[in-house]
């Protein structure tokens, strides 16, 4: 075997080279760098995923300034086009970076690395990534988050966990939104919870209404616990020490 690349060193014109390499290896490596970057600052990143219109931005708006016990929150917004969400989030008082993916249907670790470099999250803070609205593609891409939250609004119908199992199988929390609309839609919450449990017994399930505030305290408490630092702040890790980001800001 060739000592340089591990190829089958033969004399024929055509050679087979064994790679055995994970396709997402590069993304996973960048995600680990994001995770280290955040750990060094005792900051946590949470990946918020859902279909478009499930209420991710409204949820973040309704939390702003209401729950004083939460650490500082900053936001990375992912959309194909426009800064509409970033404008809303900024108006709500958060530091925010908007990523436009163009034709892309998901955020990847490289995009998030660039956004983290711009966002410069404070020690002990929470970074919430609002992924591109999509129940399929974002499930595959580790961003360096410490938890994955899947939002599902009652207006979408209760069949989504079974239709999009990859997404729901990876969730740490399933957050059912717009529950103030339950009286007006056919959404069986018990059956929904059963389906989620059958797909993913480890996932927690909470319900909220950003409009009425119902369930918001429990959601914010979940968020606070999920973002707890894994180790106490280290005096040798001042902000700005970890700078693994080489990519310029997103266009």
């Amino acid at each position: 075997m060739c000592g340089t690349c591990g190829c089958a060193d033969n004399e024929s014109d055509s050679r087979t080279i064994i790679l055995q390499q994970k396709v997402l290896a590069k993304n996973d490596e960048l995600a680990e760098r994001n995770r280290s970057f955040l750990t060094d600052r005792n900051a946590a990143m949470l990946n918020l995923m859902s279909s478009p219109g499930a209420g991710k931005t409204t949820l973040l708006e309704s939390m702003a300034g209401v729950f004083s016990e939460l650490p500082q929150v900053s936001v990375i917004e992912g959309d194909q086009e426009t800064a509409l969400d970033a404008d809303r989030i900024k108006a709500a008082g958060y530091a925010v970076v908007q990523i436009n993916t163009g034709v892309g249907c998901h955020l990847d670790a490289d995009m998030v690395a660039a956004a983290l470099g711009v966002l410069d999250p404070q020690p002990g803070s929470i970074v919430i990534v609002e992924n591109v609205g999509n129940l399929v593609c974002p499930a595959l891409f580790d961003l360096g988050e410490s938890a994955r939250i899947v939002l599902a609004s009652v207006t979408e119908g209760g069949d989504k966990p079974l239709k999009y199992p990859h997404m729901f199988r990876q969730a740490d929390l399933v957050l059912v939104t717009k529950i103030d609309l339950l009286p007006y839609v056919d959404f069986d919450l018990e059956r929904y919870a059963t389906d989620v449990r059958r797909l993913n017994p480890a996932a927690e399930l909470l319900t909220v209404s950003a409009r009425t505030g119902e369930g918001m305290a429990a959601w914010c408490e979940w968020l606070r616990l999920a973002a707890r630092p894994t180790h106490p702040a280290r005096p040798d890790s001042p902000p700005g020490r970890a700078q693994p980001l080489s990519r310029p800001g997103p266009g």
Binding site: R15, K22, V23, L24, V136, C137, A139, R198, P201
Partner: protein, 109 residues
């Protein structure tokens, strides 16, 4: 369609590893639980490889089956459908195989 990004990842990984080689065949493993549709990768492949040292290469995809193990009773089974439910009734299962997404090998001249 994340298969486009996945296929671009395959091409980037191969060209990074073998920048000078003319690649004539790429063999991928796509597991049944990987979340990637093999036909969509096939659909993108020629487009994504155009202008690279993989241009004109054939694509061979090994679609590996899913295999789960039940944490409750220890049984091994191939899950059918989206719900990984053991015949003992437990949903507490671990995926043993079928989640892989790997570049197995390439053929170069």
């Amino acid at each position: 369609m994340h298969e486009l990004a996945i296929t671009e990842g395959v091409v980037a990984a191969v060209t990074e590893r073998l920048p000078e080689a003319k690649v004539t065949l790429v063999r991928l493993e796509i597991g049944a639980l990987s979340g990637v549709v093999a036909d969509s990768v096939r659909f993108c492949f020629d487009l994504v490889t155009e202008g690279t040292n993989l241009e004109g290469a054939s694509l061979e995809i090994v679609e590996s089956a899913a295999q789960c193990r039940c944490r409750s009773c220890g049984a091994e089974f191939d899950p059918e459908g989206p719900i990984m439910l053991c015949s003992c009734g437990s949903a507490d299962v671990v995926v043993e195989s079928g989640a892989d997404l790997r570049i197995l090998s390439v053929k170069v001249v």
